[in-house]
Protein backbone atom coordinates (compact mmCIF):
# COMPACT_ATOMS: atom_id res chain seq x y z
CA UNK A 1 0.00 0.00 0.00
CA UNK A 2 1.45 3.33 -1.04
CA UNK A 3 0.10 6.65 0.12
CA UNK A 4 0.54 9.56 -2.26
CA UNK A 5 -2.34 11.99 -2.11
CA UNK A 6 -1.22 14.26 -4.94
CA UNK A 7 1.76 14.03 -7.25
CA UNK A 8 4.37 16.48 -6.09
CA UNK A 9 7.98 16.91 -7.08
CA UNK A 10 10.66 15.59 -4.66
CA UNK A 11 8.11 13.64 -2.71
CA UNK A 12 9.03 10.17 -1.45
CA UNK A 13 5.91 8.15 -0.93
CA UNK A 14 5.56 6.51 2.46
CA UNK A 15 5.35 2.76 1.94
CA UNK A 16 3.06 1.70 4.74
CA UNK A 17 3.63 -1.99 4.09
CA UNK A 18 7.29 -1.44 4.97
CA UNK A 19 6.29 0.37 8.15
CA UNK A 20 3.88 -2.43 9.06
CA UNK A 21 6.54 -5.10 8.47
CA UNK A 22 9.04 -3.14 10.59
CA UNK A 23 6.57 -2.87 13.45
CA UNK A 24 5.80 -6.58 13.19
CA UNK A 25 9.50 -7.45 13.17
CA UNK A 26 10.25 -5.32 16.23
CA UNK A 27 7.23 -6.53 18.17
CA UNK A 28 8.18 -10.20 17.66
CA UNK A 29 11.22 -9.79 19.89
CA UNK A 30 14.81 -10.52 19.12
CA UNK A 31 14.95 -14.28 18.66
CA UNK A 32 18.24 -14.27 16.90
CA UNK A 33 21.37 -16.27 17.46
CA UNK A 34 24.63 -14.62 18.51
CA UNK A 35 27.99 -15.89 19.72
CA UNK A 36 27.95 -18.91 17.39
CA UNK A 37 31.70 -19.59 17.10
CA UNK A 38 32.23 -23.07 18.63
CA UNK A 39 33.71 -23.01 22.12
CA UNK A 40 34.05 -24.97 25.36
CA UNK A 41 33.38 -23.59 28.82
CA UNK A 42 36.59 -24.37 30.65
CA UNK A 43 35.60 -22.77 33.93
CA UNK A 44 32.38 -21.36 35.38
CA UNK A 45 31.56 -19.64 38.67
CA UNK A 46 28.65 -17.49 39.85
CA UNK A 47 30.20 -14.41 38.25
CA UNK A 48 32.05 -15.53 35.14
CA UNK A 49 32.49 -18.15 32.43
CA UNK A 50 35.80 -18.76 30.73
CA UNK A 51 35.27 -19.77 27.11
CA UNK A 52 37.91 -21.48 24.98
CA UNK A 53 37.28 -21.27 21.25
CA UNK A 54 37.92 -24.16 18.87
CA UNK A 55 40.75 -23.56 16.40
CA UNK A 56 39.62 -22.80 12.87
CA UNK A 57 43.06 -23.02 11.26
CA UNK A 58 46.47 -24.35 12.27
CA UNK A 59 47.78 -22.32 15.22
CA UNK A 60 50.68 -20.06 14.32
CA UNK A 61 51.05 -18.39 17.70
CA UNK A 62 52.39 -20.01 20.87
CA UNK A 63 51.05 -17.32 23.17
CA UNK A 64 47.35 -17.74 24.02
CA UNK A 65 45.12 -14.66 24.00
CA UNK A 66 42.74 -14.01 26.91
CA UNK A 67 40.06 -11.48 25.98
CA UNK A 68 38.64 -9.62 28.98
CA UNK A 69 35.24 -8.16 28.22
CA UNK A 70 33.64 -5.12 29.92
CA UNK A 71 31.13 -5.30 32.78
CA UNK A 72 28.42 -3.62 30.68
CA UNK A 73 26.34 -5.40 28.02
CA UNK A 74 27.29 -8.90 26.93
CA UNK A 75 30.49 -10.31 25.53
CA UNK A 76 28.80 -11.82 22.45
CA UNK A 77 29.32 -8.46 20.71
CA UNK A 78 32.82 -9.83 20.08
CA UNK A 79 31.20 -12.71 18.21
CA UNK A 80 28.06 -11.02 16.94
CA UNK A 81 27.82 -12.78 13.59
CA UNK A 82 30.33 -14.84 11.59
CA UNK A 83 31.34 -12.08 9.15
CA UNK A 84 31.67 -9.47 11.91
CA UNK A 85 33.22 -11.55 14.66
CA UNK A 86 36.29 -10.24 16.45
CA UNK A 87 36.92 -13.66 17.99
CA UNK A 88 36.54 -15.57 14.70
CA UNK A 89 38.94 -13.23 12.94
CA UNK A 90 41.62 -13.80 15.60
CA UNK A 91 41.06 -17.58 15.28
CA UNK A 92 41.43 -17.45 11.51
CA UNK A 93 44.72 -15.64 12.02
CA UNK A 94 45.97 -18.65 14.00
CA UNK A 95 45.62 -17.45 17.59
CA UNK A 96 44.43 -19.56 20.50
CA UNK A 97 41.60 -17.47 21.95
CA UNK A 98 39.89 -17.48 25.36
CA UNK A 99 37.10 -15.13 26.42
CA UNK A 100 36.27 -14.01 29.93
CA UNK A 101 32.49 -13.68 29.82
CA UNK A 102 31.04 -11.93 32.89
CA UNK A 103 27.78 -13.20 34.34
CA UNK A 104 25.11 -11.11 36.10
CA UNK A 105 25.85 -10.10 39.67
CA UNK A 106 22.87 -9.97 42.03
CA UNK A 107 22.18 -8.26 45.38
CA UNK A 108 24.26 -11.06 46.91
CA UNK A 109 27.29 -9.53 45.15
CA UNK A 110 26.86 -6.02 46.53
CA UNK A 111 30.34 -6.06 48.08
CA UNK A 112 32.17 -7.56 45.10
CA UNK A 113 34.75 -4.92 44.22
CA UNK A 114 37.10 -4.19 41.32
CA UNK A 115 39.77 -5.81 43.48
CA UNK A 116 37.79 -9.08 43.30
CA UNK A 117 37.34 -8.79 39.54
CA UNK A 118 41.04 -8.11 38.93
CA UNK A 119 42.87 -10.07 41.60
CA UNK A 120 40.49 -12.96 41.88
CA UNK A 121 38.48 -13.60 38.70
CA UNK A 122 40.92 -12.35 36.05
CA UNK A 123 43.80 -13.92 37.96
CA UNK A 124 41.97 -17.28 38.14
CA UNK A 125 41.38 -17.20 34.39
CA UNK A 126 44.96 -16.21 33.56
CA UNK A 127 46.17 -19.21 35.56
CA UNK A 128 43.72 -21.57 33.87
CA UNK A 129 44.89 -20.37 30.43
CA UNK A 130 48.55 -20.71 31.48
CA UNK A 131 47.97 -24.26 32.69
CA UNK A 132 45.84 -25.27 29.69
CA UNK A 133 48.49 -24.13 27.25
CA UNK A 134 51.58 -24.85 29.38
CA UNK A 135 52.47 -21.22 28.77
CA UNK A 136 54.52 -19.06 31.12
CA UNK A 137 52.97 -15.91 29.79
CA UNK A 138 49.83 -14.98 27.89
CA UNK A 139 48.49 -12.02 25.92
CA UNK A 140 45.90 -10.05 27.87
CA UNK A 141 43.44 -8.28 25.62
CA UNK A 142 40.73 -6.04 27.07
CA UNK A 143 37.77 -4.14 25.69
CA UNK A 144 36.46 -0.89 27.27
CA UNK A 145 36.16 -1.45 31.07
CA UNK A 146 37.85 -4.80 30.43
CA UNK A 147 40.85 -2.86 29.05
CA UNK A 148 41.13 -0.76 32.20
CA UNK A 149 40.90 -3.88 34.36
CA UNK A 150 43.50 -5.63 32.15
CA UNK A 151 45.86 -2.67 32.62
CA UNK A 152 45.28 -2.82 36.40
CA UNK A 153 45.98 -6.56 36.37
CA UNK A 154 49.17 -6.11 34.36
CA UNK A 155 50.58 -3.60 36.86
CA UNK A 156 50.21 -6.21 39.63
CA UNK A 157 50.93 -9.51 37.85
CA UNK A 158 53.22 -8.54 34.99
CA UNK A 159 55.23 -11.76 35.31
CA UNK A 160 52.26 -13.63 33.79
CA UNK A 161 51.64 -11.30 30.85
CA UNK A 162 53.60 -11.12 27.60
CA UNK A 163 51.59 -8.49 25.71
CA UNK A 164 48.82 -6.10 26.65
CA UNK A 165 46.26 -5.15 24.01
CA UNK A 166 43.66 -2.57 25.00
CA UNK A 167 40.65 -1.31 23.09
CA UNK A 168 39.13 2.00 24.25
CA UNK A 169 40.40 1.84 27.84
CA UNK A 170 39.04 4.28 30.43
CA UNK A 171 42.20 5.97 31.77
CA UNK A 172 42.25 9.77 32.06
CA UNK A 173 38.64 10.60 32.83
CA UNK A 174 39.35 14.32 33.23
CA UNK A 175 39.58 14.37 29.42
CA UNK A 176 36.45 12.35 28.84
CA UNK A 177 33.87 14.59 27.17
CA UNK A 178 31.15 11.98 26.72
CA UNK A 179 27.63 12.19 28.15
CA UNK A 180 28.45 9.14 30.31
CA UNK A 181 31.37 10.99 31.94
CA UNK A 182 29.21 14.10 32.40
CA UNK A 183 26.42 12.17 34.13
CA UNK A 184 28.88 10.08 36.18
CA UNK A 185 30.61 13.13 37.63
CA UNK A 186 27.35 14.35 39.19
CA UNK A 187 25.95 10.98 40.24
CA UNK A 188 25.38 10.20 43.92
CA UNK A 189 26.50 6.61 43.46
CA UNK A 190 26.81 5.97 47.21
CA UNK A 191 23.10 6.65 47.66
CA UNK A 192 22.22 4.50 44.65
CA UNK A 193 24.22 1.52 45.92
CA UNK A 194 23.04 1.83 49.51
CA UNK A 195 19.43 1.96 48.26
CA UNK A 196 19.39 -0.61 45.45
CA UNK A 197 22.57 -2.62 46.01
CA UNK A 198 23.79 -2.53 42.40
CA UNK A 199 23.59 -0.41 39.27
CA UNK A 200 20.37 -1.63 37.65
CA UNK A 201 20.31 -2.28 33.87
CA UNK A 202 17.41 0.17 33.50
CA UNK A 203 19.71 2.98 34.63
CA UNK A 204 22.24 1.99 31.98
CA UNK A 205 19.55 1.93 29.25
CA UNK A 206 18.43 5.36 30.40
CA UNK A 207 21.94 6.75 29.97
CA UNK A 208 22.47 4.95 26.63
CA UNK A 209 19.28 6.52 25.30
CA UNK A 210 20.69 10.02 25.68
CA UNK A 211 24.10 9.34 24.10
CA UNK A 212 23.04 10.01 20.49
CA UNK A 213 19.31 10.38 20.99
CA UNK A 214 18.22 11.25 17.47
CA UNK A 215 21.02 10.20 15.12
CA UNK A 216 21.01 6.71 16.59
CA UNK A 217 17.90 6.53 18.74
CA UNK A 218 15.45 7.73 16.08
CA UNK A 219 17.19 7.61 12.73
CA UNK A 220 18.09 3.95 13.02
CA UNK A 221 14.40 3.01 12.85
CA UNK A 222 13.93 5.07 9.68
CA UNK A 223 16.93 3.25 8.21
CA UNK A 224 15.38 -0.05 9.22
CA UNK A 225 12.12 0.84 7.43
CA UNK A 226 14.09 1.78 4.31
CA UNK A 227 16.07 -1.48 4.42
CA UNK A 228 13.37 -3.87 5.63
CA UNK A 229 13.75 -5.95 2.44
CA UNK A 230 17.49 -6.29 2.90
CA UNK A 231 17.85 -9.53 4.90
CA UNK A 232 21.47 -8.98 5.87
CA UNK A 233 20.76 -5.41 7.08
CA UNK A 234 17.79 -6.61 9.15
CA UNK A 235 19.76 -9.49 10.71
CA UNK A 236 22.60 -7.15 11.62
CA UNK A 237 20.15 -4.57 13.04
CA UNK A 238 18.46 -7.19 15.22
CA UNK A 239 21.74 -8.53 16.54
CA UNK A 240 23.01 -5.08 17.52
CA UNK A 241 19.61 -4.19 18.99
CA UNK A 242 19.58 -7.40 21.03
CA UNK A 243 23.04 -6.56 22.36
CA UNK A 244 22.16 -2.94 23.16
CA UNK A 245 19.25 -4.01 25.37
CA UNK A 246 21.03 -6.89 27.06
CA UNK A 247 23.14 -5.67 29.92
CA UNK A 248 23.70 -7.18 33.34
CA UNK A 249 23.60 -5.04 36.49
CA UNK A 250 26.95 -3.94 37.95
CA UNK A 251 27.89 -5.01 41.48
CA UNK A 252 27.48 -2.24 44.09
CA UNK A 253 31.02 -1.88 45.40
CA UNK A 254 32.43 -2.19 41.87
CA UNK A 255 30.33 0.64 40.43
CA UNK A 256 31.02 2.79 43.50
CA UNK A 257 34.78 2.51 42.92
CA UNK A 258 34.35 2.98 39.18
CA UNK A 259 32.36 6.22 39.51
CA UNK A 260 33.93 7.71 42.64
CA UNK A 261 37.59 6.77 42.17
CA UNK A 262 37.92 6.58 38.41
CA UNK A 263 35.38 9.07 37.02
CA UNK A 264 35.17 11.63 39.82
CA UNK A 265 38.70 11.56 41.30
CA UNK A 266 40.58 10.26 38.24
CA UNK A 267 42.70 8.08 40.57
CA UNK A 268 43.65 5.47 37.94
CA UNK A 269 45.40 8.05 35.79
CA UNK A 270 46.99 9.67 38.87
CA UNK A 271 48.40 6.24 39.87
CA UNK A 272 46.51 6.44 43.19
CA UNK A 273 43.79 3.90 42.50
CA UNK A 274 43.67 1.13 45.12
CA UNK A 275 42.85 -2.54 44.72
CA UNK A 276 42.53 -3.77 48.28
CA UNK A 277 45.63 -2.41 49.97
CA UNK A 278 47.72 -2.22 46.79
CA UNK A 279 48.04 0.94 44.72
CA UNK A 280 47.78 0.51 40.96
CA UNK A 281 50.76 2.21 39.35
CA UNK A 282 50.41 2.20 35.57
CA UNK A 283 54.07 3.23 35.26
CA UNK A 284 54.98 -0.32 36.27
CA UNK A 285 53.77 -1.68 32.92
CA UNK A 286 56.85 -2.33 30.79
CA UNK A 287 55.67 -5.10 28.45
CA UNK A 288 54.64 -4.49 24.81
CA UNK A 289 51.43 -2.46 24.65
CA UNK A 290 49.02 -1.98 21.77
CA UNK A 291 46.33 0.60 22.50
CA UNK A 292 43.47 0.97 20.02
CA UNK A 293 41.10 3.93 20.09
CA UNK A 294 38.17 5.10 18.00
CA UNK A 295 38.11 8.70 16.84
CA UNK A 296 34.30 8.80 16.94
CA UNK A 297 33.87 6.97 20.23
CA UNK A 298 30.90 8.45 22.11
CA UNK A 299 31.19 6.10 25.10
CA UNK A 300 34.87 6.60 25.96
CA UNK A 301 36.51 9.71 24.46
CA UNK A 302 39.73 8.89 22.57
CA UNK A 303 41.38 11.63 24.68
CA UNK A 304 40.54 9.53 27.75
CA UNK A 305 42.14 6.34 26.32
CA UNK A 306 45.26 7.75 24.63
CA UNK A 307 47.08 8.71 27.89
CA UNK A 308 47.67 5.01 28.66
CA UNK A 309 50.55 5.15 26.18
CA UNK A 310 51.95 8.18 27.98
CA UNK A 311 51.93 6.73 31.48
CA UNK A 312 53.34 3.22 30.93
CA UNK A 313 57.10 2.53 30.89
CA UNK A 314 56.99 0.09 27.95
CA UNK A 315 59.54 0.83 25.25
CA UNK A 316 57.46 -1.19 22.81
CA UNK A 317 54.16 0.69 22.82
CA UNK A 318 51.88 1.55 19.97
CA UNK A 319 48.74 3.62 19.65
CA UNK A 320 46.44 3.17 16.64
CA UNK A 321 43.50 5.45 15.99
CA UNK A 322 40.66 4.38 13.73
CA UNK A 323 37.91 6.47 12.18
CA UNK A 324 34.99 4.61 13.67
CA UNK A 325 32.94 4.38 16.87
CA UNK A 326 33.12 2.35 20.08
CA UNK A 327 31.20 -0.63 18.72
CA UNK A 328 32.41 -0.11 15.15
CA UNK A 329 35.92 -0.87 16.42
CA UNK A 330 35.01 -4.45 17.25
CA UNK A 331 31.83 -5.48 15.44
CA UNK A 332 31.72 -4.07 11.92
CA UNK A 333 32.96 -4.71 8.40
CA UNK A 334 35.31 -1.77 8.97
CA UNK A 335 36.79 -3.54 11.96
CA UNK A 336 37.23 -6.79 9.99
CA UNK A 337 38.98 -5.02 7.12
CA UNK A 338 40.98 -2.36 8.95
CA UNK A 339 41.37 -3.00 12.67
CA UNK A 340 41.79 -6.77 13.03
CA UNK A 341 44.50 -7.24 10.37
CA UNK A 342 46.63 -4.65 12.21
CA UNK A 343 45.98 -6.22 15.62
CA UNK A 344 46.87 -9.66 14.25
CA UNK A 345 50.04 -8.38 12.60
CA UNK A 346 51.16 -6.67 15.82
CA UNK A 347 50.42 -9.76 17.91
CA UNK A 348 52.06 -12.26 15.54
CA UNK A 349 55.44 -10.60 15.82
CA UNK A 350 55.23 -10.71 19.62
CA UNK A 351 53.62 -14.08 20.30
CA UNK A 352 56.32 -16.70 19.77
Amino acid sequence: MIIQDKPTQNRNPVDLTKVARTIELLSKGNHISVGDTPNDIVSETRLYRLLHYHSLVKRVSHTPVLVVYALVNRSYVLDLQPNKSWIRHLLTQGFDVYLLDWKSPTRMDKYVSIDDYVNSYIDDCVEIVQNNNSADKITLHGYCMGSSMSAMYTTLHQEKIKNLVTIAPVIDTSKDTTVIANISRQMDIDKLVSTIGYLPPEKLYEVYSILKPFKQGVNKYFNLIDNIDNESFVQNFLRVEKWLYDTPPIAGETIKQWINDIYKKNLLFKNQFKLGKTTVDLKRINIPLLNIVAEEDHLVSPECSVPLNEVVSSEDRRLIRFHTGHVGLIASSYSQNNVLPKVGQWLKTRSN
Binding site: R107, N182, K191, T195, I210, N219
Partner: protein
Protein backbone atom coordinates in the same frame (compact mmCIF):
# COMPACT_ATOMS: atom_id res chain seq x y z
CA UNK B 1 8.03 28.34 34.19
CA UNK B 2 10.63 30.37 36.10
CA UNK B 3 7.85 31.93 38.11
CA UNK B 4 6.57 28.48 39.04
CA UNK B 5 10.06 27.43 40.16
CA UNK B 6 10.35 30.40 42.47
CA UNK B 7 7.02 29.55 43.99
CA UNK B 8 8.23 26.01 44.68
CA UNK B 9 11.48 27.28 46.16
CA UNK B 10 9.58 29.57 48.48
CA UNK B 11 7.26 26.77 49.44
CA UNK B 12 10.12 24.51 50.54
CA UNK B 13 11.99 27.38 52.15
CA UNK B 14 8.94 28.09 54.26
CA UNK B 15 9.49 25.22 56.59
CA UNK B 16 6.05 23.90 57.06
CA UNK B 17 7.47 20.51 57.93
CA UNK B 18 9.66 21.84 60.75
CA UNK B 19 6.65 23.49 62.35
CA UNK B 20 4.76 20.20 62.36
CA UNK B 21 7.77 18.48 63.89
CA UNK B 22 7.94 21.07 66.66
CA UNK B 23 4.25 20.65 67.35
CA UNK B 24 4.64 16.90 67.66
CA UNK B 25 7.43 17.30 70.18
CA UNK B 26 5.21 19.07 72.69
CA UNK B 27 5.06 17.08 75.96
CA UNK B 28 1.94 15.06 76.65
CA UNK B 29 0.65 13.64 79.89
CA UNK B 30 -0.27 10.16 81.11
CA UNK B 31 -1.46 7.61 78.57
CA UNK B 32 -1.37 10.19 75.78
CA UNK B 33 2.40 10.04 75.91
CA UNK B 34 2.36 6.32 75.09
CA UNK B 35 -0.29 6.75 72.40
CA UNK B 36 1.42 9.64 70.67
CA UNK B 37 4.84 7.96 70.75
CA UNK B 38 3.95 5.57 67.91
CA UNK B 39 1.76 8.13 66.23
CA UNK B 40 4.60 10.66 66.17
CA UNK B 41 6.97 8.22 64.52
CA UNK B 42 4.52 7.54 61.67
CA UNK B 43 3.72 11.23 61.43
CA UNK B 44 7.40 12.08 61.05
CA UNK B 45 7.72 9.49 58.28
CA UNK B 46 4.73 10.95 56.54
CA UNK B 47 6.17 14.44 56.77
CA UNK B 48 9.54 13.39 55.45
CA UNK B 49 8.01 11.62 52.44
CA UNK B 50 5.98 14.74 51.71
CA UNK B 51 9.12 16.81 51.85
CA UNK B 52 10.81 14.40 49.38
CA UNK B 53 7.83 14.59 47.01
CA UNK B 54 7.89 18.40 47.05
CA UNK B 55 11.64 18.40 46.35
CA UNK B 56 11.16 15.84 43.57
CA UNK B 57 8.50 18.04 42.00
CA UNK B 58 10.86 21.03 42.18
CA UNK B 59 13.72 19.06 40.57
CA UNK B 60 11.42 17.66 37.90
CA UNK B 61 10.37 21.21 36.99
CA UNK B 62 14.01 22.17 36.42
CA UNK B 63 14.57 19.00 34.38
CA UNK B 64 11.53 19.55 32.15
CA UNK B 65 12.35 23.22 31.76
CA UNK B 66 15.75 22.29 30.33
CA UNK B 67 14.19 19.66 28.05
CA UNK B 68 11.57 22.13 26.80
CA UNK B 69 14.21 24.74 26.06
CA UNK B 70 16.20 22.21 24.01
CA UNK B 71 13.02 21.26 22.16
CA UNK B 72 12.28 24.92 21.45
CA UNK B 73 15.82 25.50 20.13
CA UNK B 74 15.56 22.46 17.84
CA UNK B 75 12.15 23.45 16.44
CA UNK B 76 13.31 27.05 15.86
CA UNK B 77 16.35 25.74 14.01
CA UNK B 78 14.22 23.51 11.78
CA UNK B 79 11.85 26.39 10.93
CA UNK B 80 14.70 28.79 10.13
CA UNK B 81 16.56 26.33 7.92
CA UNK B 82 13.52 24.96 6.13
CA UNK B 83 12.34 28.48 5.24
CA UNK B 84 15.58 29.22 3.42
CA UNK B 85 15.47 26.06 1.28
CA UNK B 86 12.38 25.49 -0.94
CA UNK B 87 13.23 21.76 -1.24
CA UNK B 88 12.60 21.41 2.45
CA UNK B 89 8.97 22.44 2.30
CA UNK B 90 7.90 18.93 1.34
CA UNK B 91 7.00 17.15 4.56
CA UNK B 92 7.93 13.74 3.11
CA UNK B 93 11.38 14.64 1.82
CA UNK B 94 14.40 12.79 3.17
CA UNK B 95 16.24 16.09 3.34
CA UNK B 96 13.71 17.48 5.79
CA UNK B 97 13.88 14.33 7.88
CA UNK B 98 17.66 14.63 8.11
CA UNK B 99 17.40 18.33 8.91
CA UNK B 100 14.97 17.60 11.75
CA UNK B 101 17.16 14.80 13.13
CA UNK B 102 20.29 16.97 12.92
CA UNK B 103 18.60 19.93 14.61
CA UNK B 104 17.21 17.82 17.45
CA UNK B 105 20.46 15.92 17.84
CA UNK B 106 22.42 19.16 18.12
CA UNK B 107 20.04 20.75 20.64
CA UNK B 108 19.70 17.68 22.87
CA UNK B 109 23.34 16.56 22.66
CA UNK B 110 24.49 19.98 23.79
CA UNK B 111 21.97 19.80 26.65
CA UNK B 112 23.00 16.29 27.71
CA UNK B 113 26.68 17.27 27.68
CA UNK B 114 26.09 20.27 29.94
CA UNK B 115 26.82 20.31 33.64
CA UNK B 116 23.41 21.90 34.36
CA UNK B 117 21.61 18.92 32.85
CA UNK B 118 23.80 16.39 34.70
CA UNK B 119 23.03 18.17 37.97
CA UNK B 120 19.27 18.35 37.28
CA UNK B 121 19.09 14.74 36.05
CA UNK B 122 20.96 13.39 39.06
CA UNK B 123 18.90 15.48 41.49
CA UNK B 124 15.71 13.96 40.11
CA UNK B 125 17.18 10.48 40.43
CA UNK B 126 18.47 11.20 43.90
CA UNK B 127 14.96 12.17 45.07
CA UNK B 128 13.50 9.05 43.45
CA UNK B 129 16.03 7.05 45.47
CA UNK B 130 14.91 8.88 48.61
CA UNK B 131 11.38 7.59 48.01
CA UNK B 132 12.71 4.03 47.62
CA UNK B 133 14.72 4.56 50.80
CA UNK B 134 11.57 5.66 52.60
CA UNK B 135 9.79 2.47 51.52
CA UNK B 136 12.83 0.44 52.60
CA UNK B 137 12.67 2.05 56.03
CA UNK B 138 9.03 1.04 56.45
CA UNK B 139 9.89 -2.51 55.35
CA UNK B 140 12.77 -2.63 57.85
CA UNK B 141 10.51 -1.50 60.69
CA UNK B 142 7.94 -4.17 59.88
CA UNK B 143 10.55 -6.90 59.51
CA UNK B 144 11.98 -5.98 62.90
CA UNK B 145 8.49 -6.19 64.42
CA UNK B 146 8.11 -9.68 62.96
CA UNK B 147 11.59 -10.69 64.13
CA UNK B 148 12.74 -11.38 60.55
CA UNK B 149 16.28 -10.38 59.45
CA UNK B 150 16.21 -6.98 57.79
CA UNK B 151 18.00 -5.90 54.62
CA UNK B 152 20.65 -3.95 56.52
CA UNK B 153 21.33 -6.99 58.70
CA UNK B 154 21.69 -9.19 55.63
CA UNK B 155 23.94 -6.53 54.14
CA UNK B 156 26.30 -6.89 57.06
CA UNK B 157 26.41 -10.65 56.51
CA UNK B 158 27.16 -10.18 52.79
CA UNK B 159 29.91 -7.70 53.58
CA UNK B 160 31.56 -10.09 56.01
CA UNK B 161 31.17 -12.99 53.59
CA UNK B 162 32.98 -11.04 50.87
CA UNK B 163 35.75 -10.17 53.35
CA UNK B 164 36.14 -13.85 54.21
CA UNK B 165 36.36 -14.72 50.50
CA UNK B 166 39.09 -12.11 50.02
CA UNK B 167 41.05 -13.37 53.01
CA UNK B 168 40.80 -16.92 51.67
CA UNK B 169 42.05 -15.77 48.27
CA UNK B 170 45.05 -14.02 49.84
CA UNK B 171 45.83 -17.11 51.94
CA UNK B 172 45.53 -19.37 48.86
CA UNK B 173 47.90 -17.14 46.85
CA UNK B 174 50.45 -17.09 49.68
CA UNK B 175 50.24 -20.86 50.04
CA UNK B 176 50.69 -21.38 46.27
CA UNK B 177 53.69 -19.07 46.22
CA UNK B 178 55.29 -21.07 49.03
CA UNK B 179 54.45 -24.31 47.26
CA UNK B 180 56.16 -23.13 44.05
CA UNK B 181 59.33 -22.31 45.99
Amino acid sequence: MKHENNALNNFTKYDLFENWKNLQNFPTLGMFNALTKDYNEYMEDLLSVNRILVDLQKNLSTYWLQMSEANFRAVANVILKSKSDPNLKDANSDKLRLLVIDAFEEAYSSLFSSKEFAVAYNEVYSKQLDIVNYINRIAEKNLKLLNIPTRSELDEVLKELQEVKRTLRIMKNRYEKLDRK
